[in-house]
């Protein structure tokens, strides 16, 4: 009985702290919105973050998208062949990439790369009193540090998703047409027949939401770092884990709303 009570106590504490953390992240979101529309906006900072989040993630996103498209084509082909429906492979790959895999995998890769870096950089600033220095100089850290990163995340992740979708389909074409001998005309026709603008558009809306989540979580964890180098390491890990889980959970709810 004591064990059950202890377990329930731990569970209850975890749930309460998770809800409290969610509340703080939402509060940070509103603070970001407030400061986003207060001039002046530092364009140089924003472009710098866009270059970091977007441009420097291109290689990893291209690799992820390309190989995802390729493996999806391979798996779909062998599955669909059981029903004599090999010609539907291109539709499955294109729909899978644009609706789900493009936005989700892109967001996860950017989380691992940029989200972790945000948590580490801001966490290091926190433990070395650079955030306090901003406050002392009457400068708001949300405006200077978090707003540029959020803008970069929301704008760049959809663009990276477009690249991911494109190279995923190219990769799928290579595997399907070149390696598996699917007719090229059928491959392209079925893809264009079954993929609607809304599939692509909904995927990009998801990508923007994921960009918001990964940057907010990364910045939040960095901002609340305590305890020196160990704290920075812990914050970075927690940022990646929390952002990744949040992306996957929100993916379900966004999909349910859009379908």
């Amino acid at each position: 009985m004591k064990l059950i009570i202890t377990l329930l106590d731990h569970l209850g504490k975890r749930i309460l702290s998770s809800v409290e953390e969610l509340g703080k992240i939402i509060t940070l979101f509103f603070s970001v919105l407030l400061w986003m529309f207060r001039p002046p906006l530092k364009a140089k900072n924003i472009f710098k973050q866009m270059e970091f989040v977007g441009v420097r993630s291109i290689v990893v996103v291209v690799l992820t998208g390309c190989f995802t498209g390729m493996v999806m084509t391979l798996q779909s082909y062998h599955g669909f062949r059981l029903f004599g429906a090999e010609s539907m492979v291109s539709s499955a790959v294109a729909l899978g990439m644009t609706r789900e895999l493009g936005p989700v995998l892109t967001a996860l890769m950017v989380t691992a790369r940029a989200g972790s870096a945000m948590a580490a950089e801001i966490g290091t600033m926190k433990v070395t009193e650079q955030i306090d220095a901003l406050y002392v100089m009457a400068a708001n850290p949300v405006k200077h540090l978090i707003v540029p990163r959020v803008i970069a995340g929301v704008s760049m992740v959809p663009l990276l998703t477009v690249i991911s979708d494109f190279v995923g389909i190219i990769g799928g074409y290579f595997v399907g047409v070149i390696l598996l001998d699917i007719n090229s005309g059928i491959f392209i026709k079925n893809m264009t027949d079954h993929v609607q603008e809304s599939d692509i558009f909904n995927g990009l809306i998801k990508a923007a939401c994921f960009g918001l989540i990964l940057t907010l979580v990364g910045c939040y964890k960095g901002f609340n770092t305590r305890g020196g180098a160990e704290g920075v390491g812990r914050a970075t890990t927690e940022a990646v884990v929390l952002a990744s889980i949040s992306i996957l959970v929100s993916d379900y709810f966004l999909t349910a709303i859009m379908l």
């Binding site: 950089e121 290091t124 600033m125 070395t128 009193e129 650079q130 306090d132 220095a133 406050y135 002392v136 100089m137 009457a138 400068a139 708001n140």
Partner: protein, 248 residues
């Protein structure tokens, strides 16, 4: 003038400040001394509003800053500069960008004017020509001097120093002490310094305040503190293990 009135602060179970009463004179340097972990940095952070007391007042030029909203608190903060213990320079910015930061944030000066002021402030701390270096390329002493240049960029009225000479060799310690003295004199500043270094304390302090067990137990001129008969002050100044100050 800065005045702390009955300031209390607790973190978790630990009560750090237990009714601090302290007046800081304008245009003078006040040095706050006390044992390590005794709450000196916490006290300093109260003065600039980085920490709010659980009870009590922090009055700056007649205004209780504990009652101010963020916007008005920022107006008060523009009167301050602060040199943090490790300088707290922004790693991603050059030395020039660090010193220019408060100027770009709070003034409408042209880039040429900002460049001139940055060069002037760096010159005042003996670091001409290093605008393009990154903080990671500087020694500890140089970082502190850049931190000081940044702290005085806007010509504040009050500058706070959190252990400015901790971790520095004796020669550099003396150089920083002299820099603080010269800066205070040349810019007519009110300075509040936290220090453990007895040489620094008595060289630059017009007034010395002893913080012990969350309260100011002594406040006077360096001569008065040196000749104090308070057993805590005597133990601290002599560096003795014997006395009421428990080091464990």
């Amino acid at each position: 003038m800065i005045k702390l009135v009955d300031v209390h602060k607790t973190f978790g179970q630990q009560q750090v400040l237990k009714g601090v009463n302290l007046e800081i004179e304008d245009g003078k340097t006040t040095v706050i001394i006390g044992k390590s972990g005794g709450g000196k940095s916490v006290l300093l952070k109260h003065i600039i509003g980085l920490v709010k007391p659980d009870r009590g007042q922090v009055i700056v030029d007649g205004v209780d800053i504990t009652t101010l909203n963020d916007h008005r608190l920022n107006d008060v903060r523009k009167k301050f500069g602060m040199l943090f213990q490790d300088a707290a320079l922004f790693d991603s910015m050059t030395v020039g960008e660090n010193v220019a930061f408060p100027l770009r944030e709070h003034t409408r000066l042209s880039e040429d004017e900002i460049k001139k002021i940055v060069a002037d402030r760096l010159g005042a701390v003996g670091l001409k020509g290093i605008e393009n270096k990154l903080p990671s390329q500087l020694s500890g002493g140089m970082r502190k001097r850049v931190g000081l240049a940044r702290a005085i960029a806007l010509q504040p009225e009050i500058v706070l120093f959190d252990e400015p000479t901790t971790g520095l060799d004796p020669v550099l310690t003396e150089a920083i002490n002299q820099l603080i003295l010269d800066t205070q004199r040349n810019f007519h500043l009110t300075c509040i310094v936290i220090s453990h270094d007895l040489g620094s304390i008595f060289k630059m302090g017009h007034k010395v305040a002893m913080l012990y067990e969350g309260e100011i137990i002594e406040h006077g001129t360096p001569e008065e503190i040196k000749s104090s008969v308070n057993p805590v002050t005597v133990q601290f100044l002599s560096g003795s293990l014997e006395g009421p100050m428990n080091i464990m």
